[in-house]
């Protein structure tokens, strides 16, 4: 069975639009949350999101968008993108450069791309309004590919001339973790030699505000207090968007190309709560089962784990549920394992979260630190026995678990290992 490594990363996130910025902000625990102007209305109770800097994508016409000067994107590519597509495209270019991939490494039958996004409610809404108002024949022929949930894979596969496996994943906030897991499987099974794993979200009003209807968003107006996973005073999650790409490669490709990986992917597991359409299982049964299966697949004992990058989104039920899952998996060893949720810094990226936080984990492994929980003042009593470092620990985690959970009680756990 070939071993699988993470060899390239690309970031457009609320805490930075390149690997050096992201690394610095992760280590220094500087968040990317801000009061979001479109929420500045009396009837919108939510005020803060994790904002994407240096990009403006608030127009429904992609030719109005602006993005950092280093990128040059042709109209023919831009016209079919949602904001998430632009973020992912830029992250893809970074990941390709980071992994030092040649064109021939990207476009061949053994290189695939798995992507996850919630689509673009923003553009879907715009195009549907046009359809109802002006009639179907006045609708853009490109509205569908720009806005439905597969928009990321449609666009990226065409733009980068991907010839291997391609697919979109749709398990809400577990989506891009699923994409990474199945991408890993394709490499292990010998179907592919290299996989791009992409997560992205628009992270704008239309993508985030509907969650306010579920009463799951934080109503905090202070960006420094809005996202507080595991804290007793947490009051919901803070939304964010962006795009993150990971390059996964088999050991043969790593050796052939002579690149230094960030980390090894040891394995993964998934399990479902079978409980509620939107609420986590109170005991975290699915999450616990996913972690147990992931450790078994990775041939790692629970006591070997150094760090868990938690799914914890700062919601009342979800964080406790995950704490219970961790307790049931690690038992007496729980206090030894550092746990943090980097959503305190970025906000919750929904479909993007799994890929983004896997990439953060890879950075932490290679750079040799464990990001802390900066906004934690008073831990929820239900979470108090977790080892929740407040500040960054300057030690390299050897084995890391990345948890992700989504609607319908879908749970994914991924296991990463430091490359000695």
């Amino acid at each position: 069975m070939p071993r699988v490594f993470i060899t390239g990363l690309g970031f457009v996130t609320s805490i930075g639009n390149d690997a050096p910025s992201v690394t610095r902000n992760l280590r220094d625990l500087r968040h990317g949350l801000e009061v979001y102007p479109p929420f500045d209305k009396p009837d919108i109770p939510v005020k803060v999101i994790g904002t994407i800097k240096e990009f403006t994508t608030d127009s429904t016409d992609p030719e109005d968008w602006t993005y950092p000067a280093g990128y040059r994107i042709k109209r023919e590519l831009l016209r079919t993108m949602a904001p998430s597509g632009l973020f992912a495209h830029c992250a893809m270019l970074q990941a390709i450069a980071d992994a030092k991939l040649a064109d021939s490494d990207i476009s061949n039958s053994e290189t695939g791309l798995y992507a996850a996004s919630g689509g673009s409610p923003f553009l879907l809404n715009y195009h549907h309004n046009r359809l109802h108002k002006l009639g179907v024949l006045r609708c853009s022929p490109l509205g569908i590919v720009a806005s439905i949930s597969g928009t990321l894979n449609f666009n990226l596969v065409a733009a980068f001339k991907i010839q291997g496996a391609s697919c979109g994943f749709s398990s809400a906030c577990a989506s891009s973790a699923h994409a990474l897991g199945y991408g890993f499987d394709d490499l292990v099974l010998g179907r592919q030699k290299r996989m791009f794993i992409v997560g992205a979200e628009d992270g704008n009003l239309d993508a985030i505000l509907p969650f306010a209807g579920m009463r799951t968003l934080s109503l905090q107006t202070d960006p420094n207090l809005a996202s507080r996973p595991f804290d007793a005073a947490r009051d919901g999650f803070v939304g964010t968007g962006g795009g993150v790409v990971l390059v996964l490669e088999t050991e043969d490709e790593v050796a052939r190309r002579g690149v230094t990986p960030y980390a090894e992917v040891l394995g993964w597991g998934q399990a479902s709560d079978g409980h509620n359409v939107a609420i986590s299982h109170p005991e975290g049964s699915g999450s616990a089962a996913a972690m147990t299966l992931a450790l078994r697949a990775a041939r790692v004992a629970p006591e070997q784990v150094d760090y868990v990058n938690a799914h914890a989104t700062s919601t009342l039920i979800g964080d406790v549920s995950e704490a219970r899952a961790l307790r049931s998996v690690f038992k007496s060893g729980l206090g030894r394992i550092a746990v943090s949720s980097t959503k305190a810094l970025t906000g919750h990226g929904l479909s993007l979260a799994g890929a983004m936080e896997s990439a953060f984990s890879a950075v932490a492994i290679r750079e040799g630190f464990i990001p802390g929980n900066p906004h934690l003042r008073q831990p929820d009593p239900e979470c108090a026995d977790l080892n929740l470092p407040r500040t960054t620990e300057n030690r390299a985690p050897g084995i890391v678990i990345k948890n992700s959970s989504g609607f319908g009680g879908a749970n994914v756990a991924l296991v990463f290992k430091r490359v000695a």
Partner: protein, 329 residues
């Protein structure tokens, strides 16, 4: 080729400006927004058309809209484009961009275009003619056919090594072709010694061959009749001037236009260019031709036992058309 355009839904409608709607300041605002990425002259032409209904302004609108959707580095081609500039091959416009162009043209000129009508729009000239006929309520001309080398060979009575057309396009009003002088032509061994130059007589022959292709594929015929390839012969030419020596590697761009057609004589004017340079001009080149009765296409039986009609010649319409490509999405 699909002939759906022959029966234009616009036919029978009264010509503009009797159908013209009054043009309000609101309309002007909407028009300005719709054309915000087009040149100011495009907007001006659109305003003029919408106010007066004068079809003279339409080509400027159509070219302006096409220009807006062409990648900036290719726009130069549109500056002094002739009507043979091809949308896909020369301007890089794909079928989806074609749809974007159509939707904007529809919005700006206030007309509706059927999907069927889009299939045959392959050149800038096709688009201009199409829109012009559409707003005047005229029947549409026969669309330009693009004929690749294999098909040329199947149509023509003339065959290699004496066939001097690599590709051609034929409409009811003209034919255009290309021929690359490979250097392997047998006569270049002797014409001239150690100095291969394309003979002017052969260049004249190439123009004649393009005229033959026009007679077989583009010329209007009587119902139930076709031009017989066996009846076409050269009769004469007038006003032939050679302007440029053509050598291996040169790509000859050939064009002919019918001047007079009266059985049994068809007279054309013709020209050959290499890039922007004139190579040969012929004021008149005349061929004889005759009609024969059209025969029904032979019916072949395939191994599954189902019968289907074989076209008499391989149909260039099998090439992906913009609409078909879009539907594949």
């Amino acid at each position: 080729m699909p002939d759906a355009v022959q029966t234009s839904p616009g036919a029978g409608k009264p010509p503009l400006p009797s159908t013209l709607k009054p043009f309000s300041p609101e309309d002007e605002g909407t028009l300005r927004e719709a054309l915000k990425r087009c040149s100011p002259s495009t907007f001006e032409a659109a305003i003029q058309y919408r106010k007066t209904g004068n079809a003279e302004h339409v080509p400027a609108v159509v070219i302006g809209v096409i220009e807006r959707f062409v990648e900036p580095d290719l726009r130069i081609k549109l500056k002094d484009a002739d009507d043979d500039l091809r949308l896909i091959e020369d301007l890089g416009i794909d079928s989806l961009t074609m749809m974007e162009i159509v939707i904007l043209v529809e919005e700006v000129l206030q007309l509706s275009i059927n999907n069927d009508e889009l299939r045959n729009l392959r050149t800038v000239g096709d688009v201009k003619t199409f829109i012009d006929c559409k707003i005047r309520g005229l029947a549409l001309p026969k669309p330009t056919k693009f004929i690749p080398i294999e098909t040329i060979g199947a149509i023509m009575p003339i065959q290699p090594p004496f066939l001097f057309l690599n590709e051609a396009s034929v409409s009811s009003t003209a034919a255009n072709g290309k021929y690359k002088i490979s250097g392997q032509e047998f006569f270049l061994q002797g014409h001239f010694k150690d100095n291969p130059v394309m003979p002017a007589s052969i260049m004249l022959e190439a123009l004649g061959q393009l005229a033959v292709l026009y007679l077989l594929e583009g010329a209007p015929t009587e119902t139930g009749k076709v031009v017989s390839p066996q009846t076409i012969f050269f009769t004469g030419c007038e006003g032939v001037r050679a302007h440029r020596v053509c050598k291996p590697g040169d790509i000859l761009t050939l064009s002919i236009k019918p001047k007079r057609m009266k059985m049994p004589l068809a007279t054309f004017e013709g020209a050959i260019r290499v890039g922007p340079e004139k190579a040969v001009i012929v004021e008149e080149i005349t061929l004889t031709y005759a009609f024969v009765d059209a025969v029904n296409p032979p019916v072949s039986i395939n191994v599954n036992g189902s019968a289907h009609a074989e076209p008499a010649v391989p149909s260039p319409s099998a090439a992906p058309t913009p609409l078909r490509a879009a539907i594949n999405a």
